[in-house]
């Protein structure tokens, strides 16, 4: 075996390299700059890093299509394919949007920017690597890279106790969950003799459905526990509302979308490429639980961040519906639907949390639904934009959220999972109520006290504009994204 990486090897991790370099630059610049003036400069550097990462991802796509590059690199630990590029793109897009949304937020909340942007980029390294890794140990390493960054980011509002609580809680429960994942990997190795997903897939595909080795069943279940924790699927969701409530809003925007997308990529690879046994009922139950618990708990929330946290649990449930498919020709529709869902959920949720972060103002004081009373009058643009993100989260046509749900539900219907679809539809109806509650309060209530609303600053304006444009694009012309997703699934097998 040749132990020296070649050119194509470097291309296969080019986005990760770019992100790491820029993360290091920020870390080195930070100590030599004046603390009070460094925020904007470092934000600018991080933004350049994010954009270059996106360019690197596009280049990867070009490289894959126009040279004989097989996509496998680093001794078959990393695989670049249309699938991984899709998720790289989503992660890069979320990173850019979050950097833009944090641009002024840092100053308002008096947060030190150096570590913040650095950790954001390092976290993105882990998430990117998760979507291209095809080897369980590397996936574990990537998962840890991304998790450790988000543990720290959650506690970045140092002055507030609730933020520290959020960080510690996330860290303790998170490390517990990753150990489950690691245990699952070990059992999987025991069952199949390999940690490479393709080898595992070959080994497990020899067995008839429902006759795999017991060890593999347990391994899949344990890995699923670890991953379900990361996507906040019930019953592993308990941490979510507390952590989301305490963490800075842009960080929540980040950790509720990008790591989720990456973990879903891992799940897709393990479940489908790895021919994981026993997955359908496992996912059926978790999807139904997540939707129901998330939506019902969201009904009674008064804090907007907690409300959106429960809503993100529910959305994880909708998304998982696409995974609950038997191995068949139709399965690819489910995967494509799931990919579309991650993309559209990412843009609309980042947008929603960006609005929440801006409105909360210094110390994140204004986060209850009552605080939003009369926002439609005092800041019509902010209210209108927030309304559109909420409508997309409900699943109203003309927004990305609608087609996301539509594709997932129809993929599940093709698999004859009628029960799950009925649960999903009822849940969407319940969900409409609590999102509408915010809209009603914004437009139809008079404010009890005058809460100052700062005008929308430039960075946030870009973040909102871009995510809104993406949400509407996915809702009006979903074709290209869906076709790309379907094509990447074809190449997956």
């Amino acid at each position: 075996m040749n132990a020296i990486p070649h050119g194509p090897d470097y291309v296969s991790i080019l986005p990760e390299i770019v992100l790491s370099i820029f993360g290091l630059i920020i870390m080195m610049l930070d100590p030599v700059m004046d603390e009070r003036r460094s925020q904007r400069t470092l934000g600018g550097v991080a933004l350049v890093g994010g954009i270059l990462t996106m360019a690197a991802t596009v280049f990867q796509g070009y490289y894959l299509g126009h040279t004989g590059f097989s996509g496998f690199a680093f001794w078959n630990m990393v695989k670049v394919d249309a699938f991984s590029i899709f998720f790289h793109f989503v992660v890069a897009a979320v990173t850019i949007l979050v950097i833009l949304a944090s641009y002024e937020y840092m100053e308002v909340q008096q947060i030190r920017a150096g570590e913040y942007y650095g950790l954001l980029l390092f976290g993105a390294v882990g998430m990117n690597l998760m979507s291209s890794a095809v080897e369980l140990v590397l996936i574990f390493v990537a998962l840890e890279i991304s998790s450790i960054a988000t543990y720290i980011l959650a506690g970045f509002r140092r002055r507030s106790a609730i933020s520290a609580e959020s960080s510690v809680k996330y860290f303790l429960l998170g490390s517990f969950a990753t150990s489950f994942f690691l245990y699952g990997v070990a059992l999987m190795f025991g069952a199949t003799g390999s940690t490479s997903i393709s080898t595992i897939g070959e080994a497990l595909s020899q067995f008839e459905l429902g006759h795999g080795p017991m060890l593999a069943y347990v391994g899949v279940a344990l890995m699923f526990v670890g991953l379900a924790f990361k996507v906040a699927a019930a019953p592993f969701h308990i941490w979510t509302p507390d952590v989301y409530e305490g963490a800075p809003s842009p960080v929540v925007a980040f950790m509720s979308t990008a790591p989720k997308a990456a973990v879903f990529a891992v799940l897709l690879r393990i479940m489908f490429q790895g021919h994981a046994p026993g997955r359908v009922w496992l996912i059926w139950v978790v999807a139904a639980l997540s939707m129901t618990i998330g939506n019902i708990a969201a009904l009674v929330q008064d804090n907007v961040k907690r409300l959106l946290a429960y809503s993100s649990i529910a959305h994880a449930g909708y998304l998982l519906m696409a995974f609950a498919v038997w191995p068949s020709a139709d399965a690819k529709n489910g995967i494509a639907a799931a990919m579309f869902y991650t993309a559209s959920y990412a843009v609309m949720n980042v947008g929603a949390f960006a609005v929440v972060g801006h409105f909360a103002s210094q110390g994140e004081r204004y986060v209850t639904i009552e605080d939003y009373a009369g926002l439609g009058k005092r800041s019509p643009v902010l209210a209108a934009v927030f309304t559109m993100f909420l409508l997309s989260l409900i699943g109203i046509p003309a927004f990305g959220g609608f087609f996301a749900k539509f594709y997932v539900f129809s993929a599940a219907l093709q698999q004859n999972l009628v029960g799950l679809v009925i649960i999903g539809v009822i849940n969407s109806a319940i969900a409409a109520y609590y999102y509408l509650r915010i809209i009603v309060v914004m437009y139809m209530r008079e404010p009890r006290e005058e809460i100052p609303v700062a005008p929308i600053p430039v960075g946030l304006g870009f973040a909102l504009g871009l995510s809104l444009a993406a949400t509407i694009y996915l809702g009006v012309l979903p074709n290209r994204v869906l076709e790309y997703a379907s094509r990447s699934v074809e190449l997956l097998r």
Binding site: G376, I396, V425, V440, Y443, L482
Partner: protein, 518 residues
């Protein structure tokens, strides 16, 4: 076909929304915003006049069609088209919107920009509902009407506006889920959302499992439309929404939004499921009759002017449903005609009620009395509109009710008899209200000093009054476009009907000339 004919529906539909988008970018200068909104809605009206001007009246199928692929998976087309049924509803919408702008000129003085943006977006969505021929596109516009209307009620309404807005939203939203389920079922079986394709496939019996599912599909669509109409047991949202809505909201709600329901029944329930529609006509007719009588009786005892008009809408829309499910040519023509006449007359009534509210900030009938003395011009306009709504011959309400009742008599004798009492009831409650508001001595001193109509208000009212008279005197101008489409709905096989259309037009002509001759 030239470029304009091909794109006219898109133009008409999206001119208001484009105006709304421009308004979003405009600075908050209320005066200019009002003029701009008036201009945009007027341009949309002028553009929509192209439709009746170039409409082939002897042709039963869809015209001005535009069909381009929009999304490949699912297979959604941007398919717009129009026949005699939708043409006048489109023109009614564009006709009422400028009047709505005029009537809201001074009554809306806060958040003016938002108000007119919502109004224009609402207009676009309404127009889209009437011309969309792709079921998905239809559903999209259908849902799109919901948000601006709910916001108009919730942001600009009166006292219990939030309650009314949420009630309106939830009722319609939940009901339309059933329609969506039906649409998705059809798509799953046929791979198409296209109305024309689906109609042909259903007609040729090419859809698997259709026979077993057709009742549920019919019901799914019917529930969504019945809530919108609103048909008797589903009507409770309407009085609340009307009483709390701002005047322009009420005008569009009564004038156009309710017609979305009856239009949907005519287009989809009858168009896609003709057998089921006939099989279920019995109980639907009974519900319509209950609506006619119940709406009228409740209207009679309302102390609130706007609530009275709202219940009168329930009664009048009962006639429309009765006409549709009588399955006679006269009944369907009459139903279509009432939709238009009710839009003009009830729209006018709501405008008049709004004018009074602007002066006295109340709708209570007992607060008024003897208004004919201080406001003579107002009283005259009110009288014409009330008489049009009552159904006085030579005004537009009469033609439609006559046709529907003659259709109902053909269908079932007792339907006609019970339905005809509705005409009497409507005379009772409307004329009694008129008497209490306008005749006698002025009971409250404040009313003595009420200013009469100003030029702007007269400008808003004249078109409605002229239209009420014109439709009553020359109904054939409207009916000869409607009739071929109605014939087509009654016996849905396309080739046969084009030839039948001319003959059918003569039938109605005979009927209508008899009507006018009396």
């Amino acid at each position: 076909m030239n470029w304009l004919d091909q794109n006219i529906l898109t133009l008409v539909t999206f001119i208001p929304a484009a105006g709304g988008l421009l308004l979003m970018l405009a600075p908050r200068r209320d005066r200019e915003i009002r003029w701009f909104a008036l201009l945009v809605s007027f341009i949309a009206f002028i553009a929509s006049l192209h439709l009746p001007a170039h409409f082939h009246r002897d042709h039963a199928g869809f015209q001005f069609e535009q069909n381009v692929p929009w999304i490949s998976s699912p297979n959604i087309h941007y398919h717009m088209g129009m026949d005699g049924i939708s043409m006048w509803l489109v023109v009614l919408t564009t006709f009422l919107t400028p009047l709505c702008v005029l009537i809201s000129w001074t009554s809306i003085h806060e958040r003016v920009k938002e108000f007119f943006i919502l109004l224009l977006v609402l207009e676009s969505a309404l127009l889209g509902v009437f011309v969309a021929l792709d079921l998905f596109l239809f559903y999209f516009f259908w849902e799109a009407t919901l948000i601006p209307m709910a916001l108009l009620i919730g942001m600009f309404g009166h006292g219990r506006r939030v309650y009314a807005a949420v009630k309106f939203f939830l009722y319609t939203m939940i009901a339309s889920v059933f329609m969506l389920a039906g649409i998705l079922w059809l798509y799953a079986k046929t791979g198409s959302f296209d109305f024309v394709v689906l109609q042909n496939q259903i007609h040729s019996g090419g859809i698997p499992d259709f026979a077993g599912a057709s009742f549920w599909l019919f019901l799914g669509f019917f529930v969504a439309f019945a809530v919108k109409v609103p048909l008797f047991p589903f009507h409770t949202w309407l009085p609340d929404a009307h009483v709390e809505a701002p005047t322009a909201g009420s005008v569009l709600l009564a004038g156009v939004l309710l017609k979305m329901g009856t239009y949907g029944m005519l287009r989809f329930n009858l168009g896609l499921f003709p057998e089921q529609a006939r099989a279920n006509a019995g109980w639907i007719g009974v519900l319509a009759l209950i609506g006619i009588v119940y709406g009228a009786l409740v209207a009679m005892v309302q102390p609130n002017m706007k609530k009275l008009i709202a219940y009168s809408s329930i009664s009048h829309l009962g006639f429309v449903v009765l006409g549709i499910f009588s399955f006679t040519q006269a009944g369907l023509n009459g139903a279509m005609f009432i939709m238009l006449a009710h839009g003009v007359a009830t729209g006018g009534l709501f405008m008049l009620a709004g004018i009074l509210y602007e002066r006295r900030h109340t709708y209570e009938i007992s607060e008024f009395g003897g208004l004919a003395t201080p406001m003579p011009a107002y009283a005259r306009f009110f009288l014409v509109v009330v008489l049009a709504s009552v159904g006085l011959p030579l005004l537009n309400g009469f033609i439609g009710e006559f046709l529907v009742l003659s259709g109902a008599f053909q269908a079932k004798m007792w339907w006609g008899i019970v339905g005809a009492t509705g005409v009497i009831w409507s005379a009772c409650y409307l004329l009694w209200m008129y008497q209490r508001v306008f005749f006698g001595q002025v009971k409250h001193d404040v009313n003595n000093s009420l200013p009469d109509l100003n030029l702007r208000e007269k400008t808003a009212l004249w078109p409605a009054v002229v239209m009420a008279l014109a439709m009553g005197v020359a109904p054939m101008l409207w009916l000869n476009g409607i009739d071929p489409a109605v014939k087509n709905v009654l016996s849905p096989s396309t080739e046969k009907n084009i030839s039948l259309a001319g003959e059918g037009a003569r039938d109605t002509q005979a009927l209508a000339s008899k009507v006018v001759g009396q």
